[in-house]
Symmetry: C2
């Protein structure tokens, strides 16, 4: 069969992952039998979320023609104590700088992403409450 991703076991807990021609390494932390040679698989869902909603917001603000100097996203998550330790609460923080940044437009872009467009948010939402914060540095 064709595949979208292929992970090859190396040693310890490390896998080399081919993802559409891009190479990644995932590993467990030293507390879980790994050597921290790469991000943990579960945490990659948070990286996926940050990129997913980030691209949505970039695209929507471009249509709104709202300029900004910089844009970053921080994600913090809590997870369940019990197996399978799914994420139960996620906070996404959108950080903008720029004199012409308008909170109303950013808010509109963020809610459109989280509520309608971002597949990673739509998936994580089944196990986790997703909150957001917007920080503007003018």
């Amino acid at each position: 069969m064709s595949y979208d991703t292929r992970a090859e076991y190396k040693d310890g807990m490390a896998f080399d992952v081919d993802l559409g021609g891009h190479d990644l390494r995932v590993d467990a932390g030293t507390d879980h039998g790994g050597r921290n040679y790469g991000p943990t698989p579960r945490s990659m869902m948070l990286a996926a979320l940050s990129g997913c909603t980030g691209m949505d917001v970039v695209a929507i603000l471009r249509k709104m023609q709202m300029p900004y100097d910089s844009f970053a996203i921080e994600v913090r998550a809590d997870s369940a104590d019990q197996h399978p330790h799914v994420y139960t609460a996620v906070t996404v923080r959108y950080l903008f700088s720029g004199q012409k940044v308008e909170r109303e437009k950013v808010e509109k872009a963020v809610t459109l992403s989280l509520d309608r467009y971002c597949p990673v948010a739509a998936t994580l939402r089944h196990t986790a409450r997703i909150d957001y914060e917007i920080v503007i540095n003018q």
Copy 2:
């Protein structure tokens, strides 16, 4: 606030992601305004799944003391036509080689991972049917 992941917008659709001290770049494909400088955010959920269930299976087979020469995982996924384009069907293929590989043990390890331990599978399962295949090359 402290964060688990931080993504910084570069240009086009590309973000540089810091994930627990590991650097990743995510990007959109050329058909979505990106330049394919890194994997797409949504597909990173599949990489997360492959690593997550892979580490579970490695750990469980280690406890079962079942040796093998090589182990790889391939994942293929279909997604919804409508926004937010969540994954709706995922097939995980476990490929083993080795003279002492026992299908029953692999099957036990795989089902324990997918049904009980892997947080990524437990999350994706809310939108996608997850099937698996086991291929043993002795």
